[in-house]
Symmetry: C2
Subunit: 140 residues, 2 copies
Amino acid sequence: MFTRLDHVGIACADLEQSILFYRNTLGLEVFHQERNEEQGVVEAMLRLNGTDDGQSSYIQLLAPTRLDSPVGKFLRSHGPGLHHLALGCPDVDAVSAAVGDKRMNVLFRPPRPASMGSRATFLHPHECGGVLIEIVTAAG
Amino acid sequence: MFTRLDHVGIACADLEQSILFYRNTLGLEVFHQERNEEQGVVEAMLRLNGTDDGQSSYIQLLAPTRLDSPVGKFLRSHGPGLHHLALGCPDVDAVSAAVGDKRMNVLFRPPRPASMGSRATFLHPHECGGVLIEIVTAAG
């Protein structure tokens, strides 16, 4: 079903400050940056390594563009920190169907556009031991 | 400095229940299980993929063996969920020194024994935008 640990999403108040921390303190560089108006976030992907399914693993830094976006609400209730865990698979539609068949509430069906042209859906932390789980298929 | 996203640590109240969730709902199997009395945890590593530095990426499920352990305290204050992000490197001693030179407070110097014979240290969430960051070198 899943073939890689795709990324870990981290909520931060100020994207540029977070990018500086990861670059200056940990030596990690921005691989890609984008703005997603629908989700109300700006984000930076920091690439860590290649994976044996032909893709990569990243840290994803997420900052809200508006207070009422999901990441804005998360920051207000939790403060900055670990936000979600993204598991990569070759076919997010098939995995969504398989997980839905187990009576899990799959949040977006069909999956919606996500980082770097990927397609993704989510499982709610209430059903996953407190962890927001993203299910993602890379572009191409 | 870092060559892979080594694992994501998840705090859970009941290890066996969490293992069942990840197996039955997400199809992920236990690769390794151990008990660390010093840290007061039982843990299960679920392997996701190989990485291009010759190692692997995992989900690490962590449950406390006593209420006053670090994971026990985390559960009491935060509830179950994402606990830490572990970045892999070939030489945890060298990375600890390099990060310490940037005036970061490296929690364990020398690093201490961690999962599957690895050696690891940590950076405090107060200094890392709310994220507990583990720096780890695999065994061998």
